[in-house]
């Protein structure tokens, strides 16, 4: 169950990263900033809403949406069509700045966050915490919602078309950047959801964005650039890998993700050249 929970969180965090990478060819490490800020906004707002988890989650997401829009408008948009190195440097800069801002405002100590429900349910012979089932359910629901978004809406179809032929979309007269902004914001909001849902399990700390954005990077590469179903399968597979490795060699559990990433990169060298 731990593996599926981690997989669900990895999916939520990486899907926005995967879309940005797949459509705009931009490696966006600022995604980690949004992930971390959503958690800090969430935990700060908790006392003001009588510790109502859902209301605080909505506040956290609502606050990171304009921030992600600003990042897209004033940083990412200038990196479309440029070398990925510029994007890595620029967005890593954002991640560093955000992390230092978090340290400055909230301090460096980890903040534990209370699990919203301690209820559990019995599945065959296993007792499963309800909260983890909620996380997995949220990831599956978002996967289905995103699938419908890309299949049924014009905005979704424009993005899929841009993945196939960006010049073709532009030459039809469609301003694809408008749709990229929308998808960028959706992806960032989902990273925020992932961060907030995971915070009661892992606590909030300033460097959480760094850790998860690298995992999101690995999930995206393993799943295939721009392959949204691939990202889903990759996230859950790597989540299970982390959980299984953690049982035997706890210190190496996250490292295994990057080993898999390296192997995939070697096998699909041409795709990423």
């Amino acid at each position: 169950m731990f593996g599926l929970t981690i997989g669900a969180i990895l999916y939520l965090v990486s899907i926005g990263f995967a879309i940005t990478f797949g459509t705009m060819k931009v490696i966006n490490f600022a995604h980690g900033s949004i992930y971390a800020l959503a958690v800090y906004f969430f935990m700060t707002s908790l006392p003001y809403v009588k510790n109502n988890f859902v209301v605080s989650l909505l506040i956290g997401i609502a606050l990171v949406i304009p921030l992600s829009y600003l990042i897209e408008k004033y940083i990412i948009r200038y990196l479309y069509g440029e070398s990925v190195h510029y994007a890595i440097i620029a967005t890593y800069g954002v991640l560093f700045s955000t992390t230092d801002t978090i340290k400055w405002i909230w301090g460096t100590n980890p903040w534990p966050i209370i699990v919203p429900t301690r209820a559990s349910i019995q599945l065959f012979d296993v007792t499963v915490p309800l909260y983890r089932i909620i996380i997995i359910g949220a990831a599956v629901a978002i996967f289905i919602a995103l699938h419908l978004f890309f299949k049924k809406t014009i905005a979704g179809k424009v993005i899929v078309a841009a993945l196939d032929d960006s010049v073709g979309v532009r030459c039809l007269g469609i301003d694809q950047f408008k749709y990229f902004s929308l998808v960028f914001v959706i992806g960032s909001a989902l990273a925020g959801v992932g961060g907030i849902l995971y915070s009661p399990i892992a606590a909030a700390e300033p460097y959480m964005g760094f850790r998860f954005v690298l995992l999101a990077f690995a999930v995206t590469l393993v799943g295939g650039m721009g392959n949204l179903t691939g990202a889903f399968i990759s996230a859950f597979s790597l989540g299970m890998l982390i959980a299984m490795t953690a049982r035997v060699l706890p210190r190496l559990s996250e490292m295994m993700v990057f080993v898999v990433m390296a192997v995939v990169l070697l096998l699909r060298k041409e795709e990423y050249e």
Binding site: I154, V160, A161, D164, V167, G168, R170, C171
Partner: protein, 231 residues
């Protein structure tokens, strides 16, 4: 009446110059063909007119307004449509969804676009729900042309529409282009001289990033032997 004039444009890929002072003229309803060997700058010229590439010097005038270095989405809305060489349909989408995006971009009803597509190529009726990536090369080319024709554009820029296609499919494309004559202007890069001589109102042979000459005389246009020199 001139619809497009390209005046002394220079285009660079980084520091390498691809087009050297290229000029051409196209009248409303005319078909101009560009012929030349690989690397002559034919595709670069089309990409520059439609805004995919920028030119460093010179001007491009479309319907009496300078349009050089404007974005392709803006130029498409003004009626310039580019069909690239690689037959890159939106392969993950169905034929219907490809048409849907064209209809959406042009503000035309999808039903009307589908009707036109079926009129042009009746086989599309059975292929509407098929992934565009699974179409044959000729069907992809026809889909791209139909997509570009949605919303009544004024100028089509088509890059090698018959390259690598079987002669029976080339016939279909010829018929489609023949049907379009007069209703839309077009600049077409093409190596198939039979097609060129039958459809061209003017021909611009290109060599090493330059236009070598302008051929408008009918007897010269039909002189395949002379044109072969440029291929």
């Amino acid at each position: 009446m001139s619809i497009l004039s390209v005046n002394f444009i220079d285009v660079f890929y980084s520091s390498a110059q691809a087009l050297h002072g290229v000029s051409l003229n196209l009248n409303k309803g005319e078909f101009a063909f560009i012929v030349g060997r690989n690397g002559a700058g034919k595709t670069t010229l089309l990409k520059t007119i439609c805004g995919v590439l920028n030119c460093k010097n010179g001007s491009i005038v479309f319907e009496d307004r300078e349009i050089q270095n404007l974005r392709p989405e803006f130029l498409s809305q003004r009626g310039i449509r580019f069909i690239a060489q690689e037959r890159r349909v939106f392969q993950s989408l169905t034929v219907k969804e490809n048409l849907e995006l064209a209809a959406f971009a042009s503000g035309v009803a999808l039903s009307e676009t589908i009707r036109t597509a079926i009129e042009i190529y009746p086989q599309f009726e059975k292929l509407l729900n098929q992934k565009a990536g699974k179409l044959s090369g000729g069907q992809k080319e026809i889909l791209l042309i139909v997509r570009a024709l949605t919303g009544n554009p004024k100028l089509l820029l088509i890059d090698e529409p018959t390259e690598g296609l079987a002669s029976i499919v080339i016939d279909d494309i010829y018929k489609l282009l023949e049907k379009m004559r007069g209703s839309v202007s077009a600049i077409i890069v093409e190596q198939n001289l039979n097609l060129v001589t039958q459809l061209a109102d003017r021909i611009y042979p290109m060599k090493e990033g330059k236009i070598v000459k302008e051929i408008t005389d009918r007897s010269e246009i039909c002189n395949v032997k002379e044109l072969e020199v440029y291929l």
